[in-house]
């Protein structure tokens, strides 16, 4: 054979070289979660200095329940965005699903689990219809979902008898966005979660080193696990502080129940995207649909599945929103919900051009969005300002995406 080097493949690279690689990637336009993390820090600093109550434990807890619905919808949108498609109807789809649940729960007296199931099935059916129209008929997703955006507003009105407000009284549904885990359970979940994460990382490292493959070094894993433990530890600690104005009357503390709900969704979808062939195929179709087709991947099925997942997640987002508002009305899932959800996914680092993104992005971006909504609310801005800021945030995130893509193509990364 000729004098060529085969790829280096054993041992662990030094932590220094991994850090260098990371900066190289960022400079090359692969920003990843960087804008979201920086945005989060800057926004928190600004709001904290402008409004002292921003950092209070009760407001910290509010951030989670305020951002939860949008974040869940954004997690579903990631799948559609990964294919380079868009779902403009996800907001109102969540409203329709919430309305289905509310009607069955309150008007028809169904048990909560059947109502929730019905809402989720509605979401799946919506996604199926959207996906088939896009994949099989070839109508651009922009048009299909814009039409659905209008139609679903009408459907929600019909379900809610031309605009009545249905209140939710079921304890279980209300608990989702209004109750908290007992403080001890919060700590237990944290410890178990961090241990499992560390265990997975370490066994993966040992397995790869055992087979002579390149693996993350122990130091990198330690930093990752440590960062997770510190960040989530601080969060759990603050959430476990007493935040009731009148603790003698009612005690209010603990991790909001939406947090573990979101974490479970995050783990499930991250697993699906990164550890299964299905997820690999989603990325492939987003990166080069023709190459995916030639590799024998059923591109249409992947497209349809992405819309199904998106609308399914919208249904969960709708349920969370209904729980938080204690009611469903024709505006549930409307107004800025969709823009915030798309913004959340994109701010987190998911590309509007397809092929790039993670479910975790939606979570990080969702955090940014929650801070924006919350901070502006605290400072008492009017609706007009909020709309302008919403639009600006979305445009800004799309601009960062487009610029980083330009940069990436200039440096040959995309």
């Amino acid at each position: 054979m000729t004098t060529t080097t085969s790829p280096q493949k054993t041992g662990s690279p030094a932590i220094g070289s991994q850090v260098r690689d990371y900066f190289e990637r960022v400079r090359g336009g692969d920003l990843g979660a960087l804008p979201a993390v920086i945005g989060l820090v800057v926004l928190c600093a600004v709001f904290a200095s402008l409004s002292p109550s921003f950092l209070s434990p009760i407001n910290f807890a509010n951030l989670f329940t305020q951002g939860a619905g949008v974040t869940v919808i954004a997690m579903g949108l990631v799948f559609v965005l990964l294919l380079g498609e868009i779902d403009l109807s996800a907001g109102f789809a969540s409203g329709v699903c919430a309305a289905v649940m509310a009607v069955l729960l309150t008007n028809e007296g169904w048990p909560w689990y059947l109502s929730v199931l019905a809402a989720m099935v509605t979401g799946v059916l919506i996604g199926l219809v959207l996906g088939v129209l896009v994949a099989k008929l070839g109508i651009p997703s922009f048009v299909v979902t814009l039409a659905a955006f209008l139609a679903f507003q009408g459907v929600a009105l019909i379900l809610l008898d031309e605009g009545t407000n249905i209140s939710i009284r079921d304890e279980t549904i209300l608990a989702v966005a209004n109750s908290n885990l007992p403080p001890l359970l919060g700590w237990a979940v944290l410890v178990v979660g961090v241990l499992i994460y560390a265990g997975i990382q370490l066994t993966q490292m040992r397995r790869r080193l055992g087979r002579g493959l390149l693996a993350d070094s122990f130091a990198v894993i330690a930093v990752r696990v440590g960062a997770l433990a510190v960040v989530s530890g601080v969060a759990v600690y603050v959430l476990n502080l007493e935040r009731s104005r009148n603790p003698a009357l009612i005690s209010l503390s603990g991790v909001p129940i939406v947090v573990p709900v979101i974490l479970v969704l995050l783990i499930v979808w991250t697993f699906a995207l990164h550890r299964t062939a299905y997820g690999r195929h989603v990325y492939a179709v987003g990166g080069n649909a023709e190459a995916a087709r030639r590799a024998g991947i059923n591109v249409d099925r992947i497209r349809i599945s992405a819309f199904v997942i998106c609308s399914f997640m919208a249904s969960i987002g709708g349920i969370i929103a209904a729980s938080r508002a204690n009611s469903v009305d024709p505006n549930t899932g409307g107004s800025t919900v969709l823009l915030f959800a798309v913004g959340a996914a994109v701010i987190g680092g998911t590309s509007l051009f397809g092929g790039k993104g993670r479910v975790l992005d939606a979570l990080l971006g969702g955090a940014v969005v929650a801070v924006v909504i919350n901070g502006m609310g605290l400072m008492g801005y009017s609706a007009s300002v909020k709309y302008v800021v919403t639009g600006a945030v979305l445009l800004l995130s799309a601009g960062v995406d487009a610029l980083s893509r330009k940069r990436a193509s200039a440096s040959g990364r995309r």
Binding site: R208, L214, N288, G296, G355, R413
Partner: protein
């Protein structure tokens, strides 16, 4: 060397809308041999290859594999028989890394979960066998590779599998002198190992250097399919440019070959 062809097409027609691109094409590929497929730009070489790979459905015609009549209705069918194709446009996903591209659509799994380690090992072995130049990491995105490196990945993707037929559509187009020599050497090695190899190329020197047979397409018709040792350079050039050369080639444009 008069063995049976492993892959044989008869009477293939293919149209894109009103444009007929392939007319009654017959094409045979033999194990242990390199068959060069030549023809001018737009002659229909890539289209023929895509029909073989199940990318385009054929309008009519028969497809035999190992003597059996088969029906190939998609890329998976072709891959399942052991037909691997390196496409002219490479068909790689820029946003996936080298290993992910090489196993795309045929991922190794243990249960539900992808078996990344096994895939990485196999990819490393295959690339080492192709003596790949300085790829920094197998986990590098394909978008960060040079044209030649991408071509090598595409070739490695095709030889990774226990294939019986490997078809390379202009595999050396983006390569430098040394890499071209390596690919040609690989093409020869694959054939010597008993595989049937189809090489599409515009470079007559390469064609004569490695091929055992030459098939010349002219305006969507198979002008001739001949043993390389029995023809000259100029005869092939005439077949490519005019569809006939003396005794060889199209008689009256009905696709009959000598």
């Amino acid at each position: 060397m008069s063995q049976a062809p492993v892959l044989e097409l008869r009477g293939i027609d293919k149209s894109f809308g009103p444009v007929q691109v392939l007319h009654d094409v017959a094409f045979s590929v033999y194990p242990g041999e390199v068959t060069a497929l030549v023809g001018d730009n737009g002659a229909g070489k890539s289209t023929l290859v895509k029909c073989i790979g199940g990318i385009h459905p054929m309008d009519s015609g028969e497809y035999f594999f190992a003597g059996e009549k088969v029906h190939v209705s998609g890329p998976r069918d072709a891959a399942a028989m052991g037909v691997e194709i390196v496409y002219q446009d490479l068909a790689l996903c820029d946003n996936l890394d080298i290993v992910q591209n090489m196993f795309l659509g045929r991922e190794r799994k243990s249960g539900l979960v992808l078996d990344e380690d096994t895939m990485e090992e196999m990819a490393a072995k295959t690339l080492a066998g192709l003596s790949v130049r300085t790829v920094k990491s197998l986990r590098q995105h394909v978008s960060s590779l040079s044209g030649g490196q991408r071509q090598t990945v595409a070739i490695a993707k095709a030889v990774l599998w226990n294939s019986k037929v490997v078809i390379l559509d202009e595999p050396t187009a983006a390569l430098g002198v040394a890499q071209t020599a390596q690919v040609l050497e690989l093409v020869r090695r694959l054939a010597d190992n008993g595989l049937a190899v189809v090489l599409i190329s515009h470079n007559m020197n390469d064609v004569f250097a490695v091929s055992d047979r030459i098939a010349a397409l002219y305006l969507g018709r198979m002008a001739a399919q001949v043993k390389t040792s029995e023809v000259t350079h100029s005869q092939i050039v005439e077949l490519i440019t005019a569809g006939r050369s003396g005794e060889l080639g199209l008689a009256t444009g009905n696709g009959a070959s000598a």
